[in-house]
């Protein structure tokens, strides 16, 4: 089913928040890291994987999800977390390593856990698929509402975990949706040099489940495909695979010189920025008025400013509290 104007605005709004959040993080990340780039310096140390360009995947899928549905996400998790409704202030504070963060600074940006909205992510490629299968099994066994969604990149589709998890979910007919965000690059290795098939959607046939390829990095098209897969899961008809064409507008991580990209690719991608394309389309179709648009942009700015301010002003936990929470 096509999205309603309200759903379109929901998707657009979450993309705006995600993008602005990441643009802000990007600036802060560079504080203390110039002129010499040292990953350990600045208010946000460590690796930073930005998702700008990939927002349509997150909003197109999460527009169908409720709080009780489970999402397992990746090392590039901000757009997915924001679309799933993770508390933005506590998420920002976690990225800064503060005591008020989702886990008090023990996780960082690759390990965001928000139990209130059943969101988690992890740092290694292909890790989230098994846990999503398990969450779906849990719902089925407890006869509890909810589906599980595992987001991952096209690189993860070459992991054993992908094949084992799809098979297991199909054998047990579980309410789980596997979502590939195909951004064409595994760090510097192009998909076509690493993957035997043109489109990972065809791999679904090996596990007797629907596999749908969604071209265009278009929130509406993703919304439609995800809606079908999620309805199927909610109806007890088993798992599905979505294979979404998307683009990574930044490097794999901040500091990536992106020398591997063919000439002109980056410029071409920036011209196709999915948020600008969507904004234009919504304004043209009348699903978004100019005043709605400026309201949503203001909303995004307020949300992000408040979250960043909260993170900046929060305290660090005592170093020795690193010893807490090893066990339940």
């Amino acid at each position: 089913m096509n999205p309603t104007p309200e759903q379109k605005q929901w998707m657009y709004r979450h993309m705006l928040v995600s993008r602005l959040f990441e643009e802000t993080i990007e600036k802060i990340y560079l504080e203390g890291k110039t002129p010499v780039f040292n990953m350990a310096n600045g208010p946000i140390p460590g690796e930073m994987h930005l998702s700008n360009g990939q927002e349509p995947c997150a909003v197109g899928v999460c527009a169908h999800l409720n709080k009780e549905d489970v999402v397992t996400a990746t090392h590039r998790p901000h757009h997915q977390a924001i679309a799933k409704g993770v508390d933005l202030k506590r998420m920002a504070a976690e990225i800064f390593g503060k005591e008020t963060g989702l886990s008090g600074g023990r996780g960082g940006h690759m390990h965001l856990f928000d139990a209130d909205v059943n969101f988690s992510c992890s740092g290694i490629v292909g890790q989230g698929l098994g846990p999503a299968v398990g969450a779906a099994l849990s719902r089925k066994m407890q006869n509890k509402a909810g589906v599980a969604v595992s987001f991952f990149g096209e690189g993860a589709a070459n992991q054993g975990a992908f094949h084992e998890s799809l098979n297991l979910a199909a054998v047990w007919k579980l309410p789980v949706i596997f979502v590939i965000e195909d951004n064409a690059w595994g760090i510097s290795v192009a998909k076509e040099t690493a993957t035997a098939v043109d489109r990972n959607a065809v791999r679904a046939a090996a596990y007797d489940m629907p596999g749908v390829y969604v071209p265009g990095n278009d929130p509406d098209a993703i919304f439609v495909a995800a809606g079908e897969a999620i309805s199927r899961a909610r109806a007890g008809e088993g798992p599905s695979l979505l294979d979404i064409e998307t683009y990574r507008l930044a490097g794999h991580f901040m500091g990536d010189a992106e020398a591997y990209r063919p000439e002109g690719e980056k410029e071409d991608l920036l011209r196709k920025d999915p948020i600008l394309v969507y904004e234009k389309a919504l304004l043209a179709s009348g699903d978004l008025s100019e005043s709605d648009n400026s309201d949503l942009k203001e909303y995004a700015k307020r949300e992000v400013d408040e979250a960043i301010q909260f993170a900046r002003e929060s305290q660090f936990a005592s170093p020795a509290s690193a010893l807490d929470h090893v066990f339940a």
Partner: protein
């Protein structure tokens, strides 16, 4: 009901603990390879499928990566999975889900997400199964933070520790030695088949036990090694040496006080471990004594552990490498000769 004379094998004791917990708690379920109608390759899920059915006793595909990951997701979502990793040697195909997710998610979530899963896995050799089906790997699991690790040596502990493991909100690695299981075809250590109460009970995780008291030397061991150590203690007694034999029962958290107090009494320490010698359990036991107070030792600590070699197939080579009572006696005599 008095159950004094009801001897059970370790396998039956494990199954009984699981079935009792499954009756008490609907969230408990079992999955793994051949845990269903077959009852587990080592007999420890026998009878569960018949009582609870295929929904709660799940045969899985041979996909350890997926079902270990699924255990993490199910446990985080409110279930209490018991997962069998048929041989601990198979950890290599699924360790990411174990040590990067199961062991760390509580920490990474700041205590907001718990992973109450039990992984039960068989250890040990001695029956010529070759070097990919005979390892113990106690130290490998115990080294990585975030998982409790238990190693029962007899049926009483096996039942009580399984019950404790299922009720624990942290992930527990439950390592059972094949030679203690009571499966006829594996050659069973008779001392592991002991009286087991019918009612449910727990054996506390984190508490070692003194299984034979003595004054002259402390022998610390776990799993199958406890039985070798008891035989050694009997042989030593004939030679006028009395040994305190400690069954660790739990590797994480380690009952360091119990070990220290015994060595304080005897002044001598021998560690018996069927796992590889270097960088492992035996070194950690010795360190836990000497770093606290080296002056209590009257002789250098001794180790009877598996040499740092892959486990050979040929019977005479494997038996040569394994700990046994004679080696333990010699180590104790070296310690007490000072």
């Amino acid at each position: 009901m008095p159950t004094k004379d009801r001897k059970l094998t370790v396998a039956r004791a494990m199954a009984e603990a699981m079935s009792q917990e499954m009756r008490l708690d609907e969230r408990v379920f079992v999955m793994g390879e051949d845990v269903g109608p077959l009852g587990g390759v080592f007999g420890n899920t026998r009878g569960l499928f018949e009582e609870f059915g295929a929904e709660r006793v799940r045969d899985t595909p041979i996909s350890e990566t997926a079902f270990m990951g699924a255990a993490v997701g199910a446990a985080a979502d409110g279930m209490r999975p018991i997962v069998e990793l048929m041989f601990v040697d198979f950890f290599g195909v699924c360790f990411d889900a174990i040590y990067n997710l199961m062991a760390k998610n509580t920490y990474f979530s700041g205590g907001n997400v718990n992973v109450p899963a039990v992984i039960m896995t068989s250890t040990g050799g001695g029956y010529s199964d070759g070097g990919q089906h005979s390892q113990c790997l106690y130290g490998t699991f115990a080294h990585l933070p975030g998982m409790k690790v238990v190693v029962p040596s007899n049926a009483f502990d096996a039942k009580g520790m399984m019950t404790a493991a299922i009720r624990d909100d942290s992930p527990v690695i439950y390592m059972f030695h094949k030679g203690l299981q009571g499966m006829g075809w594996l050659g069973t250590e008779a001392g592991a088949t002991v009286n087991v109460p019918e009612e449910e009970y727990t054996v506390n995780i984190g508490k070692a036990a003194t299984v034979s008291e003595g004054e002259d030397v402390t022998i610390v061991s776990l799993g199958m090694g406890v039985h070798h150590s008891l035989r050694a203690a009997a042989l030593l007694y004939e030679q006028g040496v009395s040994a305190d034999v400690i069954d660790l029962r739990t590797l994480v958290p380690l009952d360091r006080d119990h070990i220290f107090n015994s060595v304080k009494k005897t002044g001598r320490l021998v560690v018996v471990d069927e796992d590889y010698q270097s960088y492992g359990v035996s070194g950690e036991i010795i360190a836990s004594v000497v770093e606290r107070d080296i002056s209590i030792l009257r002789a250098p600590p001794q180790r009877v552990a598996y040499p740092d070699i892959p486990i050979p197939f040929a019977h005479h080579m494997e038996q040569w490498a394994l700990p046994n009572a004679e080696k333990i006696v010699r180590a104790c005599l070296r310690a007490t000769s000072n």
